[in-house]
Assembly symmetry: C2
Homo-oligomer: 121 residues x 2
Amino acid sequence: MATLGTLHVIEARGVASASLAEGELLRKLGDGIVARLGLTVIGAPQWHAFPAREGAFGGHTGLWLLSESHLAIHSFPERGALTLDLHSCRPIAPLPWTEILTLALGPCAVRVRVVDRDEAP
Amino acid sequence: MATLGTLHVIEARGVASASLAEGELLRKLGDGIVARLGLTVIGAPQWHAFPAREGAFGGHTGLWLLSESHLAIHSFPERGALTLDLHSCRPIAPLPWTEILTLALGPCAVRVRVVDRDEAP
């Protein structure tokens, strides 16, 4: 049966707000994951920097349109958190997600859930 | 506590391939959901039409960058399926997802899962 693949649903918490406001760092994080998995980006990733509010750093959103579906990263400096979603309609190699996010952002906790889009209800 | 919101993970199956190849129909589906929930789109949604392969219709991908996070739609005509992911970092009203997708695409089955990004591990 043709598969719809998997969705990785990831949250990193306890991250320094300043790191979550560094667009370039987040862009490299996403680009590194795409490269490591051999995924194919279509067009330029779409980025938005949210304005700082109430003295807090502004967050960022990055969306990569992939041949294999998509990667989305959102940072929430005011919450010390980052979310990362990767939908791939073809099987991908397992990645050490906690290690990758810890190296990039030094979070206190990383949560990884994998949603199988084909499993029976 | 500041919330990271919810991720709706939705699959529609048993959809006519021709419908899944209609970019305009899928764009309206996504735009309608965004409007109905009062979400705010930043920039132009990013769209890609995949080429037809082996006599089958080509699929489409649409990514909406939102103030509230993102909406991603992928169609897979060769599989008769569509996936829809909506991450909103603020609470959203409940929608009749099955009804909305049935009206738009006439699928045989719709599956909706809601991932709480805050719940304790």
